[in-house]
């Protein structure tokens, strides 16, 4: 399914990540998944949160640069080959993956995937 992901531009300085999580805490927003892409100078924090619009507004008001993007979220069985099958379906449909992050527990794996075509990817993978 297609879900909304919130990205935040972070300067590579100590305390910036704490600050964002504190702001979200105070706004009573839950973070269910996250990943950080980092370069030498800055990082991009990507999150799946409980209320994306409210989170975006709260962070913007605190002078953060944020962006909401469509990503897909899929659930696969937690067994060898499950991820490769999902990715093969995307590759066959010529849908590019920019990045992904995920975790597994209780026999299920959940993945957040940024693709070049979220709608089609979501159709393919359910």
């Amino acid at each position: 399914m297609i879900i909304k992901q919130l990205s935040v531009f972070l300067q590579n300085e100590s305390g910036r990540l704490v600050n964002v999580t504190e702001i979200l805490h105070q706004a009573d927003i839950n973070i269910s998944a996250l990943s950080i892409a980092e370069t030498q100078e800055y990082g991009i924090l990507r999150m799946i949160v409980s209320d994306v619009e409210k989170a975006a507004k709260t962070l913007r008001d605190a002078d953060y640069t944020v962006k909401i993007t469509d990503v897909i979220c899929i659930e696969t069985p937690d067994i060898p080959g499950a991820l490769s099958n999902a990715l093969k379906a995307l590759a066959d449909a010529r849908i590019d993956v920019s990045y992904m992050y995920g975790y597994s527990s209780d026999g299920k794996a959940r993945l957040v995937i940024k693709t070049s075509n979220p709608a089609e990817a979501s159709n393919l993978l359910g």
Binding site: S7, F9, Q11, E41, I44, D63, T65, T69
Partner: protein
Amino acid sequence: MIWNQPRECMSRDEMTHLQTARLKDLVQRVYHNVPFYRTKMQGLGIEPADIQELGDIVKLPFTTKQDLRDNYPFGLFAVPKSEIVRVHASSGTTGKSTVVGYTRKDIDTFSEVVARALASAGATKEDFVQVAYGYGLFTGGLGIHYGAEKLGAAVIPVSGGNTEKQIQLLQDFGSTVLACTPSYAAYLSEALEDAGIDPASLPLRIGVFGAEPWTQAMRQKIEEGLKITAFDIYGLSEIIGPGVSISCEYQDGLHIQEDHFIPEIINPETLEQMGDGVTGELVFTTITKEGLPLLRYRTRDLSSLNHAPCQCGRTNVRMAKIFGRSDDMLIIRGVNVFPSSVESILLDIPEAKPHYQLIVDRKGTLDTLEVQVEIDDRFFSDEVVALEKIHQKIKHKLESVLGISVILRLVEHNTIARSEGKAKRVIDRRSL
């Protein structure tokens, strides 16, 4: 509109005649009333009688900011202290501040030149002028204030800062003219956007901006952002304050109030006087000032002069928009870098905001230039590849124009201080 037709549109012969008479009078006054100038002139072997025509000005000594500091606070005043009705002082970020004093007549002159400036920008007695320059020791606030009153306009003396209040007054009072620094005007236009206020819904129509160098590109950006026509007002407290010169509706240089200030362009190295069209250091002689008259004051501002007649009808000489300051010029690895060129490059790149800071440092024996730029919200991406592309684009553009390698740092929104007075664009950490 031309405020003072006889003074702003006289023939070159008349102007020369007037300036010569006033210059001769000035030299008499400073020779007899200011020991500093008498000593300097005697050192050069000249007396007041040696100044007979305008060209003789090159015989006179220069005055520098250091001279004002050395004579802190009132050492260069040419009248008894009882004649002084107001004192202003520069911020003095490096060393002692420079103090300037005005007689009653000086305040009248100051008001007159600012009234001419506001009229040149198209303001009339019908206008409401929101003065968002700081009031206080800085000449900006009170200078524009008195000039706007002389013009007959209504003054809103809100002073600098307090952006919410500024916006509220723009809306509630319907200010039609805004006077502040260009960097604050740019900030205000962003604040309007953030607040979701359409600038076209405001009665504001004219901006009179000065006190720091800004580029044509910045002017266009402010004009679009605030939906106004922006004018460049130039001045410095040592000469009088804002109003020494002003752009007109043709936006091709700033008309200097030559009946009060004789301009020259000199080569800052050889100190030789340069002709029209040559860029050099701007020098002023204040021929009517009483409190603190100055001979050939070196402004450190880089400009050029143009005596060609202007389509607006004014005949007084125009100076080119300030290109930079000879002492702001950074020499990095032997290359001359002007902060103003960084500004024009960034204004050409939509992904960057025109807020920037330059940090010059020395790593070992090598000078480094770090340019900090805020990324525009609309171009922020969740993908590193996309941000790196923007990073490369800005870096490449800066390097190809400046001719040296730069460390580009994309920074978070609103991390670079917006100035309410003068923007601090450069931090030089090199200890030489």
